[in-house]
C-alpha cells in the first residue's frame, strides 16, 4: 500500500497568493510516501514546500515553471505504471482522445495530468486518467470563474487504486472517494 499525493498547478506567485490554509493543515509531513507534482508550481519556495510533505517528490515542468524538470515521467509505483505530464502539450487541451493517445504512447496504467485546473478522473479502456486540478484554485484562461481548489491522494494497493479527491468548497474541505481496479492492458 502506497499513499501518493497528486498535486499541481499552484501558480504561486503568478496566479495565486497561497495554498488554502485548510489544505496546508492536511498536507502535514510524514503521512505521504510519494508526491507527484504535475507542474506549474512556479516558485522555488513552493517547490521546497512540496518537498517537505514527502522527500520522494516527482515533478514535471509546466508551461510556467522555470526550474529544471522533465516534460514527462513514467514511474513504477506499487505495481502500476504511472505516467506524469503537465498537459499543456496535449493538443487540443484536455482532449480525451489526445490524452488517451499519450497514455497509450507512455504505456501508463495511470496517467496524471494538470493544466485544466479542474479535477477529473476518467477511465479510458483499461487505463485511468487523473487530473488533480489546481491546488490553489488558480485562474485559468479557459475557465469562467474561480476554480475549485483541489488535490488528490491515491492509495495504490496491488491491483486496486483508491482515489481520494480533496476539494475546497465554500471554505470547507470535501473528500470524495473513487475506487478503480486495474484492468487487463489494452
Amino acid at each position: 500500500m502506497v499513499l501518493v499525493l497528486c498535486i499541481g498547478d499552484l501558480h504561486i506567485p503568478h496566479r495565486a497568493a497561497d495554498l488554502p490554509a485548510k489544505f496546508k493543515e492536511l498536507l502535514k509531513p510524514g503521512k505521504i510516501h510519494t508526491t507527484i507534482c504535475v507542474g506549474n508550481v512556479c516558485s522555488k519556495v513552493f517547490l521546497d514546500y512540496l518537498r517537505t510533505i514527502s522527500g520522494d517528490l516527482h515533478v514535471v515542468a509546466g508551461d510556467f515553471d522555470e526550474f529544471q524538470a522533465p516534460d514527462q515521467l513514467v514511474l513504477d509505483l506499487a505495481g502500476f505504471k504511472v505516467g506524469v505530464v503537465h498537459g499543456h502539450q496535449i493538443i487540443p487541451w484536455g482532449d480525451p482522445d489526445a490524452t488517451s493517445l499519450l497514455q497509450r504512447q507512455m504505456a501508463a496504467d495511470i496517467l496524471i495530468t494538470g493544466n485544466t485546473h479542474r479535477f477529473e478522473a476518467r477511465k479510458a479502456g483499461a487505463c485511468l486518467a487523473l487530473n488533480p486540478g489546481s491546488a490553489t484554485g488558480a485562474y485559468h484562461v479557459g475557465g469562467d470563474g474561480p476554480a475549485t481548489p483541489s488535490f488528490v491522494l491515491m492509495d495504490l494497493d496491488g491491483t486496486k487504486v483508491t482515489v481520494y479527491v480533496y476539494q475546497l468548497v465554500d471554505g470547507d474541505v470535501r473528500v470524495e472517494k473513487i475506487d478503480y481496479t486495474k484492468g487487463t492492458p489494452a
Binding site: 487540443p92 482532449d95 504512447q105 469562467d144
Partner: protein
C-alpha cells in the same frame, strides 16, 4: 556599623558553618529541655540559638540561611508555648518571662513568638500587642538583622490582624485602621533598613551588593502584599492613606532599586480599579523618581496592566464598565502626557526606553480603544517627534531601532494591515529605520496580509476579509498607494544614495524569494468594482516599474494575471450562474467513473457559485476613518457599466508585458506565454481581433527572435498551437497569416521527427472543436449565450434571448469553428513528406541503428488515425493504410527501430486490433490490414 567590609567569602562560609553548628547544638538542647518540660532551660537555649543571628559578619544571602535554620526551630518553641498555656501558664506571664532574655535581638524574636500566640488566644488586644512589637523592633537598627526580624514579625502577624470581618476585630481589639497602621509602619521601617543595606560592605563590589539586595526585595514587598489582601481595605482607604504614605516613602527614600521595585510592587499588588481611580497621582509621582530609575518599565507595566484589565472586562469576565471608565478619565491622554513629561524630565533617557513606553501605550490603545485609529497616529507622531532628529538608523542605536521595530509591529497585530494603511504617521516613522530593517518590517507586513487566517473580531474598521475565507484584501486606491509606501524597501532601492541593502547587493535567488512575496501580495490587492480594481493595477504597475528590471522579472507575470482576472469580471459580469450549469452539463460528455465524478462536477458548479458570493462579501466595510475618495471608489458597481473597457485593459497588459521581452528584465519565454494567454483572452473573452492578433504576432516574433534553444522553442511552439487552436475571433486572412507562421515555425525545428510531431499538432489549427464538444469550449459557449455578449454592446445584443439556441452555432464577434478537412490533409501530407525526407536522410547517412525516422512516420500515423476517427473529410482509410504499409515495408526490409519506437509500433498495432473488436468501431477498423502478428 555601616560601611564596614564583610570578610572574604571563605571566611564568611566558615562563620556560617560555625554559627550553624552552634544553632544546631542550642536547638538540640532546647528541644531536650522542651521534652523535659523545663521552661527556664528552653528559653535559655532558645536565646542562645537566636544569639547567633546577632552576627554582622555575613552578607544578607548567607544570613538568610542562618535565619531559615532558626525559623524552623522556633516552630518547636511556639508549640511548646501553646502546650504550656494548656498547663495553666498564661501568655501574659510568658510575655513577661521572655523579656528577661539578656540580648535585645533574641528577646525581640521571643517576644514576637509569644506575642503572636498571645493575640491568637484572644487574651490580649491585637492592637496593643502589635503596636508594642512594631515599636520595640525599632531597637534593632542593623540593616540585615532588623530586616529579618521584621520579616519574622510580619510573617507571624499576618493572620492576626484586626482586619474588617476577622475574629481579631472589635472595639477593644482594634480595627482595619490598626491593621493598616501596623503593616504601614513595618513597611516603612523595613524599607529604610533595606535602603541602608546598600551601604554595607566595601564600595568596590557595589554591583554585586545591589544584586544581593535585590534578592531581599520581596521581604519588603510582603508588607504591601498583605496590605492589599486586607478585606477592609476599600478604595477610599487606599487612596487616602495607603497610597500617599507608600508614595511618600518611595520618593523620600531616593534609592533607585527601591523606587523601581516598590513602584512595580504597587502596580502589581493592588487591584486594577484602585489604579484606575488614582491614575493621576500615580503618574504624577513618576517624574519625581531618581534619574536612574527605569521609569519606562514602570510606565509600561502600568499600561500593560490596565490594558489587560480592560481586555478581560471587555470579554465579559469582569466589570464591563472599565472601558467606559478608562475613556471617561481619558487615561490614554494621561499616559501620553506622562510619557512626554518623563522624556522631558530625563534628558539621559535612552531612546529605546522612550520607544518602549510608546510601544506599551500602543498596546494599551489597541486593547482599550480597538476602534480608534487616531490614537495610534497620535502615538506614532509623538514617537516621531521624540526620535525624529536622530535620523535614519537612530544614530546607530541598534537597541532603539529594534524597539522601534517592535513598536511598529504593534498596530499590525492589533488593528490588522488594512486598517493600518490609513495611518498617516506610520510611513514617516518607518523612515527612521535603516533600509534593511524597514525591509524586514515590510516582509512582516506582507506575511501578515498573506497569512491572515481568521479575522480579528474586535478590529472594528480593520481588514476587509472575504467572508469565511479569512483572506485580507486591500481594496481601495488610497490603501494600495499607502501599502506601497509601507513596503517601499521591497519594491525599490534605498532613496538615500549609498545606503546598504539595495538590489545590486542581492543575488538572484534571494531577490527572487523576496519578490515572490511581493508577487503573491498583488493577488490581495483587488476591489469588487472593476474601475477601482483597474486603478489599483495601474498603481501597482507604476510602483513595480520604478523597482527596476531585476524585480520586475518576478512580479510582472503576477500583475498580468491579476489583469486577466479583472478582464474576466469585465467580460463576463454575470457569468457565474450559467457557469455552474455548464459545469453540470458537461459531465455527460466524458465517460465518468462512479458517482465521484458526478458529484465532483456538481460541486465544481457549487464552488463557482459560492465564490461569487464571496466576491460580494469582499466589498469594503464602511470605515469611519476612510477618506471620501475611498468611499466613492468602493461604491458598488453592480448596475453601472464600468468606465474601463476590455480593450483598454488589454492594451494596458500588452504594454505591461513588454519589459519582459528582453534587456535586463528579459524573460522571453515567460513573456511569450503571457502574450499567448492575453491573446487567447482577447479572442475568447473580448472578441477583439486586432488586439488578439497583436498579442499572437508579438509572441511569434519573440519565438523567432528571442527563444534561446531548440527544446524551449519546441515546447513554446506547442503552447502557441494550444492557445491558437481555440481562438475563434480571427477572420480567414488573419488566421492564414498566423497559421502559416506557425507551420513555418514547425518546419524550422531541427529534427525531422520534431517537425513531424509539431505539424501533426498544428493540423488541429484547422479542426477546431465544436461548441460543447469538449469541456473548455462547452463552458465558454454556455455562458456567452446567457449573457448575450453584453460587453460587446454589438448589434445582436437585443436578440440575445432569441439567439440562445443558435448561439452554439454563431456567436457575436466569433467565427464558427474552423473545420477544414483539406487543410488538415494538406498539413498531414506535409508531415508525411517530412517523414519521407527523414528516411532519405537515413539512407544517405547509412547509420543502421539510426532508424528514428520510423518514429516520424508513427507520429503521422497516430495523428492520421485520430482525424480518421473524427471522420474528417478527406482522411480516409487509404491514407491510414498507406502509413501502416510504409512502416511495415521498412520493418520487413530489415530496418531496426530503437526500443521506444518498436514499443510504440506495437502499441499502435494492438490498439487497432482491440478497437476493431469493439462493436462501434468494428466496421472502420476492420478495413485496416495489419501485418501478420509479430
Amino acid at each position: 556599623m555601616d560601611n564596614v567590609a564583610f570578610p572574604s567569602a571563605d571566611e564568611q562560609q566558615r562563620i556560617l558553618n560555625d554559627a550553624s553548628t552552634a544553632i544546631k547544638r542550642s536547638a538540640f538542647l532546647m528541644r531536650k529541655a522542651i521534652e523535659d518540660d523545663n521552661m527556664r532551660d528552653s528559653l535559655k537555649h532558645a536565646a542562645g540559638m537566636l544569639a547567633e543571628l546577632r552576627t554582622s559578619q555575613l552578607q544578607p544571602q548567607k544570613y538568610y540561611e542562618l535565619y531559615m535554620l532558626v525559623f524552623d526551630q522556633l516552630a518547636h518553641l511556639e508549640a511548646f508555648f501553646s502546650d504550656e498555656r494548656g498547663k495553666g501558664r498564661s501568655y501574659a506571664e510568658l510575655y513577661e518571662l521572655v523579656q528577661h532574655a539578656g540580648n535585645v535581638l533574641p528577646r525581640l524574636y521571643l517576644m514576637v513568638a509569644v506575642g503572636c500566640l498571645y493575640i491568637k488566644s484572644h487574651e490580649a488586644s491585637p492592637r496593643d500587642v502589635l503596636k508594642d512589637l512594631v515599636e520595640m523592633c525599632k531597637g534593632v537598627q542593623h540593616p540585615t538583622r532588623g530586616l529579618f526580624l521584621r520579616a519574622y514579625l510580619c510573617q507571624r502577624a499576618k493572620g492576626l490582624l484586626p482586619d474588617t470581618g476577622s475574629q481579631y476585630e472589635g472595639p477593644g481589639s482594634g480595627s482595619i485602621q490598626d491593621a493598616l497602621d501596623f503593616l504601614m509602619t513595618n513597611f516603612i521601617e523595613m524599607n529604610k533598613l533595606w535602603v541602608r543595606l546598600q551601604h554595607q560592605g566595601s564600595a568596590r563590589d557595589k554591583e554585586k551588593r545591589e544584586r544581593e539586595r535585590q534578592q531581599l526585595q520581596d521581604l519588603v514587598g510582603k508588607n504591601l502584599t498583605y496590605l492589599s489582601q486586607l478585606d477592609g481595605l476599600g478604595f477610599e482607604l487606599y487612596r487616602d492613606q495607603v497610597l500617599p504614605r507608600v508614595l511618600d516613602q518611595i520618593t523620600s527614600c531616593r534609592d533607585d532599586l527601591a523606587q523601581l521595585y516598590l513602584m512595580q510592587a504597587l502596580i502589581q499588588g493592588f487591584p486594577d480599579r484602585f489604579h484606575l481611580g488614582t491614575l493621576e497621582t500615580l503618574l504624577g509621582v513618576l517624574p519625581q523618581l531618581q534619574p536612574g530609575v527605569k521609569i519606562h518599565s514602570v510606565m509600561a507595566a502600568l499600561m500593560d496592566r490596565l490594558a489587560k484589565y480592560a481586555a478581560s472586562a471587555a470579554s465579559g469576565s469582569n466589570d464591563p464598565r472599565v472601558l467606559e471608565e478608562l475613556a471617561a478619565i481619558d487615561a490614554f491622554s494621561k499616559f501620553k502626557e506622562a510619557i512626554a513629561r518623563i522624556i522631558a524630565s530625563q534628558p539621559n533617557l535612552a531612546a529605546a526606553d522612550a520607544v518602549e513606553m510608546y510601544t506599551a501605550l500602543l498596546s494599551y490603545a489597541g486593547s482599550v480603544h480597538p476602534g480608534v485609529l487616531s490614537f495610534v497616529d497620535e502615538v506614532l507622531a509623538a514617537a516621531h517627534s521624540t526620535l525624529g532628529d536622530r535620523g535614519r538608523g537612530l544614530g546607530g542605536d541598534a537597541r532603539a531601532e529594534r524597539q522601534l521595530m517592535a513598536l511598529l509591529t504593534v498596530p499590525l497585530n492589533k488593528y490588522g494591515v488594512s486598517a493600518c494603511l490609513e495611518l498617516k504617521e506610520y510611513p514617516p516613522l518607518t523612515r527612521l529605520l535603516r533600509y534593511v530593517m524597514h525591509k524586514e518590517l515590510a516582509v512582516k507586513l506582507v506575511h501578515k496580509v498573506l497569512d491572515t487566517v481568521a479575522p480579528s473580531a474586535k478590529s472594528g474598521n480593520g481588514a476587509s476579509p472575504a467572508a469565511g475565507s479569512g483572506v485580507t484584501l486591500i481594496s481601495t486606491v488610497d490603501k494600495v498607494s499607502s501599502l506601497f509606501r509601507f513596503i517601499a524597501p521591497l519594491v525599490a532601492d534605498p532613496d538615500v544614495p549609498g545606503e546598504a541593502g539595495g538590489v545590486a547587493e542581492m543575488d538572484d535567488e534571494d531577490l527572487d524569494e523576496e519578490q515572490v512575496l511581493v508577487a503573491r501580495l498583488l493577488h490581495r490587492l483587488r476591489s469588487p468594482d472593476p474601475d477601482t480594481h483597474f486603478a489599483i493595477l495601474k498603481i501597482a504597475q507604476h510602483q513595480l516599474l520604478a523597482g527596476g528590471p531585476r524585480r520586475l522579472r518576478t512580479t510582472l507575470p503576477a500583475l498580468v494575471f491579476c489583469g486577466l482576472e479583472l478582464h474576466r469580471k469585465l467580460a463576463r459580469p454575470l457569468a457565474r450562474a450559467p457557469a455552474a450549469e455548464a459545469a453540470g452539463k458537461d459531465k455527460g460528455v466524458e465517460e465518468t467513473i462512479g458517482k465521484g465524478r458526478d458529484e465532483a462536477a456538481a460541486q465544481d458548479g457549487e464552488g463557482v457559485a459560492t465564490a461569487a458570493d464571496g466576491e460580494v462579501m469582499e466589498a469594503e466595510a464602511p470605515a469611519p476613518a476612510a477618506s471620501v475618495a475611498a468611499m466613492e471608489q468602493s461604491a458598488p458597481a453592480a448596475d453601472t457599466k464600468p468606465a474601463v473597457s476590455c480593450e483598454e485593459l488589454l492594451q494596458f497588459l500588452l504594454a505591461g508585458i513588454e519589459p519582459l521581452y528582453g534587456g535586463p528584465a528579459g524573460q522571453p519565454v515567460v513573456a511569450a506565454r503571457l502574450l499567448l494567454a492575453c491573446g487567447y483572452i482577447a479572442s475568447e473573452e473580448a472578441h477583439l481581433e486586432l488586439l488578439s492578433y497583436t498579442f499572437f504576432e508579438e509572441a511569434l516574433t519573440l519565438y523567432d527572435e528571442a527563444l534561446p534553444d531548440q527544446r524551449t522553442r519546441a515546447t513554446a511552439l506547442y503552447d502557441i498551437i494550444g492557445y491558437l487552436q481555440r481562438c475563434r475571433v480571427f477572420g480567414p486572412e488573419a488566421r492564414d497569416s498566423l497559421t502559416s507562421a506557425v507551420t513555418s515555425a514547425c518546419m524550422r525545428l531541427l529534427s525531422r521527427r520534431e517537425q513531424c510531431r509539431a505539424l501533426c499538432a498544428a493540423a488541429f489549427l484547422w479542426w477546431q472543436p465544436l461548441p460543447g464538444a469538449s469541456s473548455l469550449a462547452g463552458r465558454s459557449d454556455g455562458e456567452k449565450a446567457a449573457t448575450g455578449g453584453g460587453d460587446r454592446g454589438s448589434a445582436d445584443q437585443g436578440e440575445a434571448g432569441g439567439q440562445k439556441e443558435a448561439a452554439a452555432e454563431v456567436q457575436p464577434g466569433l467565427y464558427p469553428p474552423v473545420r477544414d478537412g483539406d487543410k488538415v490533409v494538406a498539413i498531414l501530407q506535409r508531415a508525411t513528406k517530412v517523414a519521407t525526407q527523414a528516411k532519405a536522410q537515413y539512407g544517405a547517412t547509412g547509420r543502421v541503428r539510426d532508424a528514428s525516422y520510423l518514429g516520424a512516420y508513427l507520429e503521422v500515423l497516430d495523428s492520421m488515425m485520430r482525424f480518421w476517427d473524427s471522420e474528417v473529410p478527406g482522411v480516409d482509410t487509404t491514407k491510414v493504410q498507406d502509413l501502416i504499409d510504409k512502416v511495415q515495408a521498412d520493418l520487413a526490409a530489415g530496418v531496426q527501430p530503437d526500443t521506444a519506437t518498436a514499443r510504440r509500433w506495437q502499441s499502435t498495432l494492438s490498439y487497432i486490433t482491440t478497437t476493431a473488436q469493439q462493436p462501434h468501431a468494428k466496421e472502420r477498423y476492420g478495413k485496416l490490414k495489419l501485418p501478420q502478428a509479430t
